[in-house]
């Protein structure tokens, strides 16, 4: 299954790179979400997969009785998801404000900080 998900991550990465290379900032944001998902999934897969056994300790015992899924990557992914959300929200609002202010989402036309005519 790790292999299948590796393949899936590859697809996600390819799609996101393609989207991020588009000149429209919205597409970049779409790509960003996909790439974040791919990275999260990478961590998850790297911790190896265990179906049907969440890392919960049943009542009355000190530790899981049978093998449970690797908890650490889950915690990491959870953290990464939340951080990713914060960053994405910022990026989205930035795009929003950039559009309001610059009048375009086309990155080729965003040339205020680095104007075309250089002295």
């Amino acid at each position: 299954m790790e292999q299948l998900l590796s393949l899936l991550i590859g697809v996600l990465v390819a799609a996101s790179v393609y989207l991020m290379l588009a000149r429209n900032l919205l597409r970049f944001l779409f790509g960003l979400i996909l790439l974040s998902n791919a990275a999260n999934l990478t961590i998850f897969v790297a911790g190896r997969l265990t179906p049907g056994a969440p890392p919960l300790i049943p009542d009355g015992v000190d530790a899981p009785v049978s093998e449970v899924a690797n908890a650490l990557p889950q915690a990491l992914v959870l953290t990464a998801i939340v951080i990713g959300f914060g960053l994405f929200a910022f990026a989205l609002v930035l795009a929003f404000r950039a559009y309001q202010s610059l009048g375009t989402l086309h990155t080729d036309e965003m040339r205020v900080a680095e104007p075309k005519e250089q002295k």
Partner: protein, 725 residues
């Protein structure tokens, strides 16, 4: 101190400065240092006195004095440092102060340009010198010059000798303005005249000469040394003296004669004979005295008449008798007339030239030509403006105030006194020579009358030739101007170089920092892909094995779902469809987390995904539609993306082959309940085992919120509103 040195002893003080790097502030005082130090302090004091008046009332007079004093200290440090790195520190300090002084009249574009030119030219040399010093240190095992000089052959016998030599010479030649690195020096005349007199004639430019003299014991004696110095010195000498004749600005004429002197000194230092080195030591003093005096005289002329143009100054002796006298004495010394010190210097130069190991005739010829030109220039600079009757003197000119006169007079008189009583000078020339070539080649005696010998005849020939040149100066000048304007100029070359650097860097930067985000991202991704793919294919081998039978039907279905969502997001030209596609991907991700036992992650993923949709849907209300996009239009992007996907997959497949070390996880599983009192291991990791991560994470979320709030609440400036669609 002085008696000790003149007695042939040396002094050394050492303070450890950066022992880890072998850098000491170690002072070593021998004849060479002393000669230089005396010139620096002596001329320095006179120049300061002079400039106190010269710049009286100038708004930045205080700064000027500060720079000049700083320079003097740096220069003293330079000539007394034993540690090469300490020497370098002072070397660079003189460069900086020189820069600030050349640019003293900073309102003028020309001053700024000249200052920069001087800084960069000497800067290049400085950097080469630094490299050279480092290599010397590595080769010799010390930076103390006195120790290195005490180890014969340590450098000349090393494989690193040639690079070291070239680097050191690069430093020395730029500082001392040897052809073809000379052109900054005439431009440096943009500085106030006291600066020209002091830095760019008497002292700083001689730092290169000093360096050559200082390293002489451990560098000299090789063919490379001999020929490089001889050729560079000779060419500089001849070239400079010819160029001097061409000038109409008296200061520039003097500047070129300075170049000539520097060339002569370099040439002489190429050798090891007592004659040449004595000649060098003497000429060093001679030149410093008369040249500083003449510069100051020109400064007086400039200050009192308002011009330095040789074609406008005539018969000023009546109005400025004292200046005229000083100028006359200094000029006679410069021209090498007896009984002035210049005569002794010239005689020694000839003697030295003839003592040159090989091709003495050629060298002596060069000295002859340049000395003759010197006679002519002396006439141009100090005879004509004061005594010539061929033009009208500028009216209403007064003698300069006394502080300005003291310097030139004393300096000029010193030239006379040392000429008449050469033994006074002998006392420091001897230890100087000893410092350069040791006691094996003792200093020659300084004598006004050395008998009838070849140098004397050459002297006479010099005068004859000099007078002829003076007589035909105008014709010669016009002829030279005709030639040199057609010849390529180094100064123009400099401008072209600067323009080239500017244009080249602009072109390069425009090509790299295009201002287009897409280019940036393309390069970033491409770099990452190349780095990863190259490493992957060169550093690892084999293809990862895939065990398909293990994959359940469910897994395939989830896989398909994510695939479809991704596909939808990529191909659609509708924002909301893309958002929906992303939603599908998010749901698929959540399902993966569900299937592989990560309920917390799945819930978080779903919640976050929903909020993303909400935010998108809100923002999309004020955002434009997507433009059309299709695979066909961006084949290179698609290729890069595909490559990235493939490489990622391969890497990940290889990484996940085989089991993982579960040491950490095992600990969490066993400690979670008994030690951290939690049954949800993931949560225990988040709030206890790795609470710091979580803390940082909520800080991110909070700051994101604050930033977003600020972004949205900040009132856009008025002009931004106008452009709103």
């Amino acid at each position: 101190m002085i008696p000790t040195i003149t007695a042939g002893d040396t002094l050394r003080f050492v303070w450890e400065w950066v022992p880890s790097l072998g850098v000491n502030v170690s002072f070593y005082i021998d004849g060479l240092s002393l000669t230089f130090a005396l010139l620096i302090t002596g001329i320095g004091a006179l120049v300061m006195l002079y400039s106190a008046r010269y710049l009286a009332g100038h708004v930045h007079q205080a700064r000027f004095s500060f720079y000049l004093t700083s320079f003097m200290l740096a220069m003293i440090g330079l000539v007394t440092s034993d540690n090469l790195l300490a020497l370098f520190v002072f070397w660079e300090l003189t460069t900086i102060t020189s820069y600030l002084l050349i640019g003293f009249n900073h309102d003028a574009t020309k001053s700024r340009r000249s200052a920069l030119q001087a800084l960069l030219m000497t800067g290049v040399g400085g950097l080469a010198l630094l490299a050279g010093i480092i290599l010397i240190g590595t080769t010799a095992g010390t930076f103390e010059m006195s120790e290195i000089n005490a180890m014969p052959g340590v450098l000349t016998g090393s494989v690193m000798y040639l690079p070291i030599l070239l680097l050191v010479l690069a430093g020395a030649f730029t500082k001392s303005a040897q052809f073809p690195l000379h052109f900054w020096l005439p431009n440096a005349m943009a500085a106030p005249t006291p600066v020209s007199a002091y830095l760019h004639s008497a002292t700083m430019v001689k730092a290169g000469v000093y360096l050559l003299a200082r390293v002489h014991p451990s560098f000299a004696g090789t063919d490379v040394w001999l020929w490089t110095l001889t050729i560079a010195g000779a060419v500089t000498m001849v070239f400079a003296s010819v160029m001097a004749l061409r000038q109409t600005d008296l200061k520039l004429a003097l500047a070129y004669t300075t170049l000539m002197a520097l060339g002569a000194l370099t040439l002489l230092l190429g050798n090891e004979s007592g004659y040449t080195i004595t000649a060098a030591a003497t000429f060093l003093v001679v030149h410093s005295l008369y040249k500083a005096a003449l510069f100051l005289v020109v400064g007086i002329l400039d200050a009192q008449t308002g011009t330095r143009d040789a074609r406008q100054l005539f018969g000023m002796a009546r109005a400025m008798p004292i200046t005229a006298m000083a100028a006359g004495i200094a000029a006679l010394s410069m021209a090498g007339f007896p009984p002035f010190l210049g005569f002794i210097g010239k005689e020694l130069k000839y003697a030295g030239a003839l003592a040159v190991a090989s091709e003495p005739i050629l060298v002596a010829g060069a000295v002859l030509i340049s000395s003759a030109l010197m006679v002519a220039i002396a006439g141009i600079v100090s005879f004509r403006p004061f005594w010539s009757k061929s033009g009208t003197p500028i009216p209403d000119v007064k003698e300069a105030p006394w502080p300005m006169l003291v310097g030139p007079i004393i300096l000029a008189l010193l030239g006379a006194i040392f000429g008449i009583f050469p033994e006074t000078l002998q006392s420091i020339v001897t230890p100087t020579v000893a410092a350069i070539v040791g006691n094996a080649e003792p200093a020659k005696e300084l004598r006004l009358w050395a008998g009838v010998n070849l140098p004397l005849f050459l002297s006479i020939a010099t005068f004859v030739l000099g007078f002829l040149l003076y007589a035909y100066k105008v014709q010669l000048r016009d002829w030279l101007i005709g030639i040199t304007t057609r010849a390529p100029s180094f100064d123009n070359g400099w401008d072209r170089l600067m323009a080239g650097v500017a244009a080249g860097s602009k072109a390069l930067t425009r090509g790299i920092q295009t201002g287009v985000l897409k280019h940036y991202m393309y390069v970033t991704f491409a770099t990452a892909l190349v780095a990863l793919a190259f490493t992957l294919f060169t550093q690892t081998s084999g293809i990862p094995s895939v065990s398909w039978p293990q994959i359940a039907l469910w897994d395939w279905l989830v896989f398909l779902l994510v695939l479809l969502g991704t596909w939808l997001t990529v191909v659609t030209n509708s924002r909301i469809t893309a958002i929906a596609g992303l939603g599908v991907v998010g749901i698929g991700m959540a399902m993966i987390f569900i299937l592989f036992s990560a309920p917390d992650v799945a819930i978080t993923q779903l919640l976050v995904e929903t909020l993303v949709v909400v935010l998108f849907a809100a923002a999309a209300l004020k955002l434009p539609e997507l433009d059309k996009d299709s695979f066909g239009k961006r084949p290179f992007d698609a290729l890069l993306a595909l490559g990235f996907g493939v490489v990622t997959t391969i890497i990940l497949m290889k990484v996940t082959t085989g089991p993982i070390d579960r040491e950490l996880t095992t600990f969490f599983e066993t400690a979670s309940w008994p030690e951290a009192f939690g049954q949800n291991i993931v949560n225990v990791i988040l709030v206890d085992f790795r609470a710091l991560d979580t803390f940082g994470e909520i800080a991110v979320v909070l700051i994101a919120a604050i930033s977003i709030f600020a972004l949205l609440r900040a009132k856009p400036e008025p002009q931004a509103e106008e452009d709103q669609p």
